[in-house]
């Protein structure tokens, strides 16, 4: 086989959005500071393969990535899962702190095996880049803010027993 790496074809996103695929072997570092109004994440196996995601930045606190800045960013965005199996689910953007700093985390949404779409977007009619820059005080130097998907844990990768029929189960289609 030819060995030259080849850029994979992707669905052409609508002009107002950027689309990323999360799954086995997909990119682990997704740029969120984009000049688009929405980020669409195709999440393969939410809560089965992909458990959550973190938002991290190359900016430091001197540059604007403060706890307060992250709080402002979390408040300025919405995060929603659209799933044919589970319906529409609002996903909280959690501000997470540690001894070395702050970042945002969000769940990959309700469990499914096929795929769901998570949409991240600013509450105001601005681009993701504008919302992020505003939250961090419009830093003067260039920087990245990335989404880092995290694997699901706590169960076998393939355990699909959750999807089986259960006589007493509530109807799962919570639209």
């Amino acid at each position: 086989m030819a060995s030259k790496p080849r850029k994979q074809a992707k669905a052409k996103p609508k002009p107002d959005r950027v689309e990323y695929v999360l799954g086995k072997g997909t990119s682990r570092l997704l740029e969120a500071r984009v000049n688009r109004k929405e980020i669409h994440l195709y999440v393969n196996g939410p809560a089965m393969l992909i458990g959550s995601a973190r938002m991290l930045t190359s900016l430091d606190i001197v540059g604007g990535a403060t706890y307060q800045g992250w709080k402002k960013l979390a408040a300025s965005l919405t995060c929603t899962s659209y799933c044919g199996h589970n319906g529409t689910t609002k996903i909280p953007l959690n501000v997470t702190t540690s001894r070395i700093g702050t970042h945002l985390e969000f769940s990959a949404g309700p469990m499914s095996m096929y795929q769901s779409t998570i949409v991240l977007k600013p509450r105001k009619a601005v681009t993701m880049k504008q919302a992020i820059d505003e939250a961090f005080g419009n830093p003067r130097r260039g920087y990245s803010l990335v989404i880092v998907p995290e694997p699901a844990t706590g169960h076998a990768e393939h355990d699909a027993s959750i999807f089986e029929a259960h006589p007493a189960a509530e109807h799962p289609h919570g639209h």
Binding site: K4, V21, G25, H85, Y114, S116, E164, A169
Partner: protein
Amino acid sequence: MAIDIRKNAATMPAPEFENFLKACVLLKAKIVPGTDFSVYDQWVAIHGSIMGVKTPSSTMFVNLGHQNIGFLAWHREYIRRLELALQSVVPGVTIPYWPWQLTPEPSVLFSNARIHPIFFSSSGLNDVGGLFAGGGPATPPSWWPAGFKWRVHPALQVGGSPILRRGSPADTWPPLLATLTGIENISSAPPGLNVYWPFWSQIEAGARTHNTGHNIVGGYMANPVFSPNDPLFWLHHAEVDRIWSRWQAKRVAAGATLLSIYPAPSEISPVNGQLPPNGHKRDDLMWPWVGTAPGYSVNSSAAIQAMLPDFSAGPLRRIRDTFDATNMGAGLGGYQYA
């Protein structure tokens, strides 16, 4: 056995498409003697059970039909066998393929007369109507089995719903034709990696391909265990299989062999550095077509396991046995796409 021809579901003659619907209905109405489930239900049970199979060399239940490289081969075998079951009730019928780049609604394919709307980008689930309406069609065709209604068997239901439903809040569909052509044209991979890896990852779980299609239809189609309850499943997977066939043909035309465009049994996964699970590698047996080989078990419910057909007398089937769709061997004949 003549080569079967699978046709475009949106453009094939209406009577031929009706034959496919008729075959699904007749298979669904054909009760396995001594049981309360149908032959069609048995095929749903197989898909439900492939989600967790323990093989002789594994210590845990593994999905042998999804999330790894055996996805395409297993589903090729699975839908071909379903196609032959359909032919047992309607001779000559084949599974149409859903041309994904078609804008779903409105379209001829997703009309009441064909596979019924999928309620693209809807805010809720809607009952499927037409021939698959839970109360039966308003005006049954002449071949309709007396008193038959398309109802999901209790052991195969989601949330206690016996009625087929569709509808999804997602709007990430359809793919562009250029996207699909790009996937068909994948011809290289990073050093040391078989070209099949990038193709498989795109077609099963890429943007606007197999997984997305299940999601945007919603309802039963979006439930990985019970998706074949919705007959649209077969059209969706025929399209997956068609794209694989076209990709294979292009690679072979460029000098490859069908065997060479699947990872060798010793090739480790680029995802995790491990060998793919037993059941996904090229020479592995594909459950449930493992004859009387010992050491296989599934973790689906007892009710679902009771519905599984008995393949113990059948031939052993391996991943590599599916590579040539035009000549699958083992009495399965072959097919092509129009």
